[in-house]
Amino acid sequence: MNTEMMGIVVTFLLTVALALPLGKYIAKVFKGERTWTDFLNPLERFIFRFCGIDPQKEMNWKQHMLALLSINMVWFVYAFVVLLCQGSLFLNPDGNPGMTPDLAFNTDISFLVNCNLQHYSGETGVSYLSQMIVITFLQFVTAATGIAAVVVLFRAFAEKTTEKLGNFFVFFTKTITRILLPLCIVIASLLVFNGTPASFEGKDRIVTLQGDTVQVSRGPAAPMIAIKHLGTNGGGWFGANSTHPLENPNYLTNMIEVIAQVLIPIAMVFALGFFIKRKKLSYIIFGVMTIGMLSFMIPNLVSEHSGNPAIARMHLADATAMEGKEVRFGVTASAYWQVVTTIISTGSINSMHDSSMPMSGAMQLLGMMTNCFYGGVGVGILNYFVFLVIAVFISGLMVGRTPEFMGKKIEAREMKIASIIALLHPFIILAGTALSAYVVAHHPNAAWAVPPSSWLNNPGSHGFSEMLYEYTSAAANNGSGFEGLGDNNIFWNVTTGFVLILGRFLPIIGPVAIAGLLAAKKYTPESAGTLKTDTVTFGIMTYAVIMVIAALAFFPALTLGPIAEFFNLK
């Protein structure tokens, strides 16, 4: 094994080694058991008193979702106003202007839904104030929203029959005080020591060796870069995201950032096992998710290492796909990041996905199309749960028993919700891509500010992949982009804005609703005829369901995009 491969293997093993104790800790936090962070109790009590929250008041799933939606609504309005007015507010040393309404709408939604699709560039598009009180703020609270939602699901399966599923605001507050803030402080400090800026001063000016004068943007970036990964947000401080030398200075920070982004998603899987006292189930889920990751990672690595056949035909010494990659990370670490960032809905990048090989592009797309191998903080498990319900249903029938999960029967109502949620993801991706493909094909010269014909930097299959990627990224709340697309215009800002909203809230409400409905049902004890969900066989079944649904829904689209490009290159 060469050093580069060793690097990613160590990175992954380190992630799992950290995620296990973290998962145990998270379970303890939400169970209300004693932890070393209990010194924060007075702070939380103060927050509850200040906000008028009664931490003892238990909510049912509907009240949970109502709380979630209303608090998101408030953030939406607040962020929109700040982004529009940032030009004339304080903490704007570079004098960046306020956003146009459609860009503000897109940015607001995009950060509100934990997606962080950026149609602006950090250096010129936002002020320090917006970076802090809109962007970074939303990166914290949306991550906490996702985690709080999945804790509702934990609660639903922790007890036999119940409607009381804890208090949303307690889950939410504790996520920030006990999990996100402490981790963020650690990661941000590590980044600062490696050269990431954390300063309120405006642009710096340097004279390069060539004698040119260059303006270098700065800002209080380190904490934001820490939470952008911890919360699987992904929106960069700088336009170039984690390819930027100040955002991701060296291989060590690269490792820290790639560990940070997948740490909580994996830890949440273990937390599930500790919380509901079914460790084996969580190991099986972790196994399925890891195999899912590997089934995208391995082809990605292979295709990146094989490089472009066109270049290979020139008989160059190194034919690996170095285009669009940072020399300080290399192909392997970049490929690892590409897959991790797409499966867990972070969307931060350390290489340009647009430049990766067609098959790698297909793997990144599939990572977002499945969107549940680890997945975003909290929401990853929620997405996985929907597929799990479908897998339980089909395999329950296959063993001749009314399907049940954790002793709760899965019936028409749960199937209705699961089907709608499973259907929604392909729907918004395919419908969005179809709309843009239609406009490009039939109205290339529409009299818009940016005519559709000039959206795409690349014609043909690759251009198609760019559009497909944009909607997939929006629907999966991922936020990365095939950057060849000219996406800062009304069409893209508005359509992806709607895709973002649909791709966020329904996939949270759906699974929580299923969990809530199941929690209220009668508990059936296990017998020899009960299908066990913590077995390898059932893990394989779940994996098959996830992959087959993705393959069936997206095969034609992938054929016209990356697959056609792949065969054309050959």
């Binding site: 249903f393 329950g396 009314t402 199937m415 079944m541 069936l552 829904a553 016209l560």
Partner: protein
């Protein structure tokens, strides 16, 4: 059940003819609307009809040639007909089974008794109403379900149960119910009609099978929702393919769109879904179990606990005397004679078995002065008082002990030990005394049915807990329970004990089934999730349960559980199969769609199909043919093996999941080769 299926062919010619006609009738969109998957196929077929007519009359070939479009249209039409045929043949089989039962009871003359005047009138059975009373004598066919209010008769129930041995039915008690269509062999009975015309169990069953009142079961609804979800995904895939094709400068014909759509949506399970449900009830009926709803069959598959009566289910009939143990110092012959005397007038099976065991000539034993003392609940013993002053009693240990002690005798220690030994060996000790002096003990033993252990073993592997219900004392009950291999028992059971046990199990979330025949079982039958009433049982029991077992065979429960499981498994495996098929179909159709515009995609044509048109036709033909190919499986059901849920899942995933992925690759390639010969 297996016997019945083996003797009935899956495709009786006359049933096939009827089903064939029905397949066309069912093309009516209003009927097909109930099945969303097949309804969308019908919509696609209609579109293809228009396209075919368009190519025929306009002469344009932008949508492909007339022959090609016609071929796609015809194949789609056949897909629909095949699916309809599957449902129709399942219905026809069920109906045929029900009809043969119904025939026996149509227009039987009934001798109606006017309850006011006592007048007798002969009227057709169809005119009998609930509450009417009719008379039946030797040789009469009983015109209607009812309850005997007067008399006793032997009845031939073979028309219903297939069992030739006659049964005895009498007024009062638990054996008072008679079924229409059965024949009185001897004696004369007055029967009160208990069901309104058209509402008997058979009528209900026939209606269920005919589909008129067939309600979708909860699992069926949930599955339909999932299938509708899949269908919608594929609607989406096909609709968005149009702009995608425009972008890639690939014109896609309507035929290709419709073909892709029909191939992708789960037509296999969609087409067979209702057939599977009907066949499940039909299988129950073939097992001679009449179900009141399809849901009951499904619930049976989920059962956690079975309550079984000991007598008749676990043991053969009744206890039998197996040994005489005289007390210390009592002559054995004398003891046996005393036992026989005490049992002379005892009509219970136990009493008769004592006579059998003793094998003495009893002709001269009873004299005029002999006074028989019948068993009563207070004394809990029976016996005889002879003219000579001998007073012999036999009964339960404590009852006789009381008598002995009252008479001033001590209860011999060795007899007490004997009693204990017998009881702990699962036997029932009957103590015999003469004038208060202990003579000895008779041992009665239960005979456990051969093969019953294996059946309970099988149930345990299915995850079903068996509970034996018996009137025996706990000691005896434990012994038999262990010997027979049941998981739990209720000893000295009273009706309310059963009820409480069921409630308790249900409270912990379990599904409970019980079998019963008596009126005092009715509340428990109603409380159980699956209550199976014996056909010989009282009307109240039959009303309370949700199934009626025509054979009166308590082990039938095991078959019912398997039928329920088979029903769900067949649905699950065919769904998996149907979805797994899509992978191969994609590899056939998608390259065919784009190969002209993007030639590089020919590498995706891994099956090396001949041309885009033959690829599409092969996929659609496979999609149509797989439906009739799977009809036998849908009707028979996927075999259930009690090997544990995980092993079963692994097995079915391999056969229907992996098989479902691989099979169509081979079949589509084969069809393509065959088509290549003609195209």
């Amino acid at each position: 059940m297996s016997k019945a299926i083996a003797t009935t062919r899956l495709f009786e010619p006359h049933l096939v003819r009827a089903a064939f006609r029905q397949s066309f009738v069912k093309l009516n969109p209003r009927i097909l609307f109930r099945n969303p998957v097949m309804f969308t196929v019908e919509a696609g077929t209609a579109v293809m009809l228009f396209v075919t007519l368009y190519t025929a009359f306009s002469g344009h070939t932008d949508q492909g040639s007339f022959g090609y479009n016609l071929a796609v249209f015809i194949i789609l039409l056949f897909t629909l007909l095949f699916a309809n045929f599957a449902e129709a043949i399942a219905e026809a089989r069920g109906k045929a089974q029900a009809d043969s039962l119904r025939k026996t009871r149509e227009e039987t003359p009934a001798r109606w008794i006017d309850t006011f005047s006592g007048e007798l009138k002969t009227i057709p059975s169809s005119q009998l109403n609930k509450g009417d009373v009719f008379l039946c004598e030797t040789g009469d066919v009983i015109p209607m379900d009812g309850e005997i209010i007067e008399g006793i008769a032997t009845i031939d129930e073979s028309a219903i149960t297939g069992e030739s041995a006659p049964v005895i039915r009498e007024s009062g008690g638990d054996k008072s119910s008679v079924t229409g269509g059965t024949k009185v062999l001897s004696d004369r009975i007055k029967v009160k009609v208990t069901t309104a015309p058209g509402e008997s169990f058979l009528d209900k069953m026939i209606a269920l099978v005919e589909g008129a009142s067939r309600q979708k079961t909860p699992n069926e609804i949930a599955l339909t929702i999932l299938l509708a979800g899949f269908t919608l995904v594929f609607v989406l895939v096909c609709v968005t393919l149009k702009p995608f094709g425009d972008y890639a400068n690939t014109p896609i014909t309507i035929a290709a769109f419709v073909a892709l759509f029909v191939c992708l949506i789960p037509t296999t399970i969609g087409g067979l879904l209702s057939a599977i449900g009907i066949a499940g009830m039909d299988r129950a009926l073939r097992a001679n179990v009449v179900t009141k709803s399809g849901k009951a069959v499904e619930t049976a598959g989920d059962l956690d606990t079975l309550l079984l009566d000991k007598t008749g289910t676990i043991t053969i009939g009744n206890r039998k005397a197996t040994h005489f143990y005289p007390a210390m110092g009592i002559d054995k012959a004398l003891f046996v004679e005393a036992c026989v005397l005490a049992s002379l007038a005892d009509e219970t099976p136990e009493g008769k078995s004592i006579l059998e065991l003793a094998n003495l000539d009893t002709g001269s034993m009873a004299t005029r002065e002999t006074r028989f003392v019948a068993f009563s609940a207070e004394t809990r013993c029976s016996g005889v008082d002879l003219a000579s002053g001998r007073s012999i009693r036999k009964g339960a240990f404590d009852a006789i002990k009381t008598i002995t002690e009252r008479a001033g005798h001590a209860f011999p220690q060795e007899t007490a030990t004997e009693v204990k030994t017998i009881a702990s060996n699962g036997g029932t000790p009957l103590v015999v005394c003469e004038n208060g002096k202990i003579l000895g003990v008779i041992e009665l033993q239960d005979i456990i049915k051969p093969g019953i252990q294996e059946r309970f073993q099988r149930l345990r592997k299915m995850g079903v807990k068996t509970v034996m219900v018996t009137g025996d004392n706990p000691l005896t009950a434990r012994f038999i329970a262990e010997k027979a291999g049941v998981d739990d028992f209720i000893a000295e059971a009273r009706p309310e004990d059963k009820m409480n046990y069921i409630r308790q199990e249900q409270q912990s979330g379990k599904l409970v089934a019980m079998m019963g025949d008596g009126t005092n079982d009715a509340p428990a039958l109603a409380q159980a999730d699956v209550g199976i009433a014996m056909n010989s049982g009282t009307q109240a029991a039959k009303e309370a349960g949700n199934m009626v077992d025509l054979d009166n065979d308590p082990t039938k429960l095991i078959e019912i559980v398997e039928i329920g499981k088979q029903l769900l498994m067949t649905r699950g495996t065919l769904t998996t199969f149907s979805i797994a098929n899509d992978i191969a179909k994609y590899f056939a159709i998608v390259p065919a769609l784009f190969i002209t515009a993007i030639p590089a995609l020919k590498s995706l044509n891994i099956m090396q199909l001949k041309s885009p048109q033959s690829a599409i036709l092969s996929a659609v033909i496979f999609n149509a043919l797989i439906i009739p190919a799977l009809i036998p499986l849908a009707l028979r059901g996927v075999a259930y093996k009690p090997i544990g849920a995980s092993a079963l899942l692994r097995r079915n995933l391999l056969i229907y999941g992996l098989g479902g992925v691989l099979l169509p690759f081979a079949c589509i390639k084969l069809i393509d080769i065959l088509l290549g010969l003609f195209l």
